[in-house]
Amino acid sequence: MKKKLALLLTLLLALGTVLSACGGKNSAGDGGSEKEKPKQEFRVNIKTEPFSLHPGLANDNTSGTVLRNTFEGLTRIGLDGKPELAMAEDYEVSEDGTVYTFKLRDAKWSNGDPVTAHDFEYAWKWALDPKNESQYAYQLYYLKNGEAANTGKAPLDSVGVKAQDDKTLVVTLEQPTPYFLELTAFYTYLPINSKIAQKNPDWYKNAGEDYVSNGPFKMVTWEHRNKIELVKNDQYWDKDNVKLEKITMHMIEDANTELSMFKKGELDWAGAPFSALPTDSIEQLEKEGILNIKPIAGVYWYKFNTEVKPLNNVKIRKALAYAIDREAIVKNITKAGQIPAMAAVPPSMFPENEKGYFKDNDVETAKKLLEEGLKELGYKDVSELPVIKIAYNTDEAHQKIAQAIQDMWKKNLGIKTELENEEWAVYIEKLHRGDYMVGRMGWLGDFNDPINFLELFRDKNGGNNDTRWENPQFKQLLIQSQKERDPEKRLELLKQAEKIFMDEMPVAPIYFYTNAWVQKDNLKDVAISGLGDVQLKWAYFE
């Protein structure tokens, strides 16, 4: 018996040594040492199967990532983050800012067909046609009668987009839209080869002869839920500036697998914006000095249900917001260089918002506000305050943040809280229904304009408001800003609106999002916009 045990132990020990011997140093990538010209092939993981690679149907980031590289709109967001002319060669805006006339350049689809103004008209009307069930059709509501046509209240012909001839596109807007050239770079505004789409309505379902595009790359392989392969589009008008020959996009769910593949050299990139790094690896990568971090236009915030006692009191809301130590949260929990948020609009749009409207972790003021708030509500002291429920969707990071905030509110203000977590779809329903007290939510900009972060709170019952908060002055300022043609004055109006918003505090901002990733050292010029959108048009290996 003793002999047996000894043998078993020896075996286990041996196994242990073998395993631990494998745990040596972590080599970071294998690039850099080749002398000959590097292969211009980019390999990346996009995590999931895209919802749809039809520009009019796509409604998610993954599809967007593929479409931005295969298609091209009237404009494209350049390396500097600003919209530049792409399919359009030139444009004119009418005096009142509602009519845009675009002149198209001589460009071709990947099968050699010319890109015409009709292709744009067709694509936009297709997306607005209610029978095509585009979930992102509302991105086109800026067009005159766009919303009416999409909801069946007006014929499609009345929509404000018209191909005057093959090279001239006239776009009429519902109202002046100062950021319209940002929008025309967005994927719902991409053109479709109308000749093919009319002949074969299923053209977008698979790669093949009928899947044609007009951007820097064209899709040659689409193995559903396995991989997508793009190659350089030799029909692209600006092909001289495209250096990558091939792009392989894998679809691997597991973030740890992705990172291992990167470390072994099977991928050239791991992490945002294509997918996400495993949260617990970020600290280690940071130490190794290979982590890249870039702020993006997105904010993580706690929404207050302003119709529930005691959150109907602005001073209580403010006390809660002020008593959060954001610095501690981004340093100890999220760890990817996030910026503490004391404002609603990200600093990439309002640079001064890096400081924000109030002091982070201002416990003194918070205590004072709480006192006053309690009095206004008729409570004698904190112990009479109802228990505040903090809701979040089931996820490790959300949970840790909620626990930290629970602790801060208890320590700083003596407020009792309870945590509630739910599965994602259940959670969203609950928030949209207003069946919550305090709940976490994230918000990412669709295009580069502050209106993105304010508009959702314009109407009490707007689809994404959730806080049930409404303010006539705030609303008025937003409406005014839409009509203002002078960009400086317009931003001023939006700033004023944000100030009101932060005074009323229907949400407590926590932090502004960042993109964190690792990449091959010799990979250059991958364009990541302020929104976190990625383009590979200019990318190359040195």
Partner: protein, 310 residues
């Protein structure tokens, strides 16, 4: 026998009906719908979508329409992957899962029996101890940890295999191994213990005394009789390996059917939930039936017809 099979098939249909019904209602009770998202879509668009997919109809209508769809094996379009039907997803994903599953099954059975026989024949030798400690590790380490360890040793350190993705035969080896480890260990232990039992039987002793070589005794006489429990374990195992590989598929980035089983629920992708559940149920029920039939064929002591009352 035929009567028995027909009877069983009828009970399978009934079971399927119950599964489909329960799944349908559980799915609908869960809050949210396939169009739930962080950025809420305008109510008009949502209403239009609901109408298009028939989700605005009263529940009993949807339920009966659904039963018809299942009966005609047309599960409809996926909500999450536009332009792909559930039938497409199954047709794409199942062959991958099946291939992976069969490879794992082969590894598990072949090496499991081999280890078990060696261990039994050389009882209490180092062969026995090392194969049984391996078996203990195989049974106690969960497959996702096994997967990470395999990736680390064979892909990152030794660089013999790719870490993940699906393509050539080389890509299949690590995931198949990870998937096979648990059943392999189980089969090894099972084989060893029955083999030991058989080796102590009188007829083996007789064979020995007649002067047959050890090889003949072990492989011709003992092994055959000790395989019975292994075969009976194969049925549930096959179903298990083929349907339960989603963790391994996720880690290795394999486009199999397993991922749909889990993700469709988070996505509230109603049609996929129903389609995959029905499909898996059929596989499981058939596997169980098959085992019961094979049981009766191999071991005459078990009479299938005796079970008719069940």
């Amino acid at each position: 026998m035929l009567k028995y099979i027909l009877r069983r098939l009828a009970s399978i249909l009934l079971t399927l009906f119950v599964i489909v019904t329960i799944t349908f209602f559980l799915m609908r009770i869960a809050p949210g719908n396939p169009f739930t998202s962080e950025k809420k879509i305008p109510p008009e668009i949502e209403a239009n979508l609901m109408a298009h997919y028939g989700l605005d109809q009263p529940w009993y209508k949807q339920y009966f329409q659904y039963l018809i769809k299942v009966a005609t094996w047309d599960f409809g379009p996926s909500f999450k992957y536009k332009g792909q039907t559930v039938n497409d997803l199954i047709a794409d994903g199942f062959p991958v899962s099946l291939y992976l599953g069969l490879e794992a099954l082969f590894i598990a059975v072949f090496f499991g029996i081999l280890l078990g026989v060696f261990a039994a024949v050389r009882q209490n030798s180092w062969v026995d101890y090392s194969s049984m400690s391996l078996a203990v590790i195989g049974i106690s380490v969960p497959s996702f940890i096994m997967a990470a360890v395999l990736q680390y040793i064979f892909a990152i350190k030794l660089q013999w295999f790719p870490i993940a993705t699906w393509g050539s035969f080389k890509h299949t080896i690590l995931p198949a191994l990870a998937l096979a480890m648990m059943p392999l260990a189980y089969i090894a232990r099972l084989t060893r213990s029955t083999m030991l039992e058989v080796l102590n039987n009188d007829y083996i002793k007789t064979a020995k005394s007649k002067g047959f070589s050890e090889r003949v005794i072990v492989y011709r006489h003992a092994l055959r009789n000790s395989l019975l429990p292994v075969i009976s374990y194969l049925g549930p195992l096959t179903a298990n390996i083929i349907t339960g590989s989603f963790v391994i598929e996720k880690i290795f980035g394999i486009p199999g059917l397993g991922a749909h089983f889990v993700q469709s629920i988070t996505n509230r992708d109603y049609t996929v939930i129903m389609g995959v559940t029905t499909f898996y149920s059929i596989i499981l029920l058939l596997a169980v039936l098959l085992v019961d039939i094979v049981y009766g064929l191999i071991d005459p002591r078990i009479k299938v017809s005796a079970k008719e009352g069940v």
